[in-house]
Symmetry: C2
Subunit: 322 residues, 2 copies
Amino acid sequence: MTTDTPARLLQLLSLLQTPREWPGGELSDRLGVSRRTVRRDIDRLRELGYPVQASKGSDGGYRLVAGKALPPLVLDDEEAVAIAVGLRAGAGHAVEGLDEASVRALAKLEQVLPSRLRRRVSTLQAATTPLTSGDGAVIAPETLTVMASAVAGQERLRFAYRSKDGTPTKRLTEPHRLVSTGRRWYLVAYDLDRADWRTFRVDRVADPFATGARFAPRELPTGDAAEYLRRSMYVRQEAYEFEATFAAPAAYVAARVPAWLGTPEPLGEDSCRIRSSVGDAVEWLAVRLASVDCEFTVQEPAELVQRVRELGARLSRAAADN
Amino acid sequence: MTTDTPARLLQLLSLLQTPREWPGGELSDRLGVSRRTVRRDIDRLRELGYPVQASKGSDGGYRLVAGKALPPLVLDDEEAVAIAVGLRAGAGHAVEGLDEASVRALAKLEQVLPSRLRRRVSTLQAATTPLTSGDGAVIAPETLTVMASAVAGQERLRFAYRSKDGTPTKRLTEPHRLVSTGRRWYLVAYDLDRADWRTFRVDRVADPFATGARFAPRELPTGDAAEYLRRSMYVRQEAYEFEATFAAPAAYVAARVPAWLGTPEPLGEDSCRIRSSVGDAVEWLAVRLASVDCEFTVQEPAELVQRVRELGARLSRAAADN
DNA sequence: GACCATTAGGACACGATCTGACCTAATGGG
DNA sequence: CCCATTAGGTCAGATCGTGTCCTAATGGTC
């Protein structure tokens, strides 16, 4: 009665998202309108493109099914927190090509997340393994979401940056795009003080802050942000070539190794090899190989071999002592 | 013009969820109504509880900020896929107390996920490390979501179950609740053939299928599903006690170990100890300890010590060969 | 087969609501 | 100071939504 039609439609949408059948009578009770109006509302939703499936007969009812477009998701508190925590935990090591969308979704969610839920998210998140790039470079999820919002909103971004040799600087930028390379995050931005394009490693960024000042997007000289990043990476030669052989079928190994690490090529029935290039996360790679749970050998690089040897010795000490 | 008011409100809500400022003029253009109507719509949203912040002056505009309640999330395709993949990946090892909500959110999302996106999700998900309970027991995310839907919709659930000694059986149940114990998933359900309550390990379930037949919820004899599970677990005595000492500050270790594994207690400036009980995931625990990246020793149980020793020897071989 | 539940939708009348076109006021930035 | 923005009042007319009647069709159960 007092609630108007649009509000009722939203409420109806949220009810229908519960995975169960709703008889018209129950809906009309909940919404406080007549059955006829409920039918009309369902019609309206259908016209809007949300496919409401109806089953006739006794214990029939309405139910929202998969359609062409995704309806607005109506989440309860716990579900929202679960998604936020899940995305934060996964933000660093998500599937290739999906991490940017993941951060965008997180930014969208956190933009409207009530503060009480925000507190719960950060408490729970503290209980999880922190977001590390593999070699201990920790990225706060807030950093990523603030940056993603600034990119989307075309707002200038101010932050502190620790350059490669460790000297701290302050930057004022026009953020262009956030790019992830499997394990590391980069910001491609126009540096206003230096009057040129730069790429920044996100794990070296501190206290990012959207100034609120809008800017008109510039044309990136190379065209694509990912390609621009690849070029500037290429100059720095950040990759190691590595090679490891496993005494197990390729499928077995593939299932236990993240895809961006490379695809195992079969060397026979019970043996396969991965050769690929990887960033400088040699420490982390050793542990990852150990978790495959089969015999293996490492060929290159020397650093990795050395690291595996050390880890083996450490484990032997751990078991021998006491 | 042709779109009616509720549709326009939903559209407006989706526009405002982009993290940027929207001037009234642009909104009125996009929505195809007059500026005055946009103002009125904004008013309506505010009355519905969605806090729309407005900034005056040139380049001011509207923006949706965090309020008391969570507005319906309007996601684009990529964001939806990112969330689905993220939740699937995290469903097995989510933070304690959040996994059930996480699965619920996933079920809600997948219920309305268009089929083209569903395909993308499963492709991408295949590229990720599969969902394992730590000791190789793999759970398909579909299994969890089908079960969650059946629980929520009070529909009977039919599935194949591999009992402890490996014999396959078929079950017809009234699913009551899905419970996660940090690393393993259980379904508490009323088994119709056996006419009694049972708990099922989800990793032993195959081909779950909601029959569509509704049922009236029964009273669980013990009251709480989690408590019921705990009792039937207690009988089976599934836990090992373990103890490990690290040559690093407690904070350092805490940051590199999942919280459910236990909290490190400081033993001095540069040393700490974790003692806790854990399921039967000894193989996996050894790798996890190795990833802490500091010297450590393992005291108990004997299986874990043995496992660490083996892993050390394997790594030494891996580095020595070639 | 009969019966009962459900969804589906037409017709109509009354009232509520929505919209656009005018106003004026207030505010922030350059 | 000027220009952009948001904010809101008022009014007339059209539009829309609602509840109360109908009737039809369908699926399950006894």
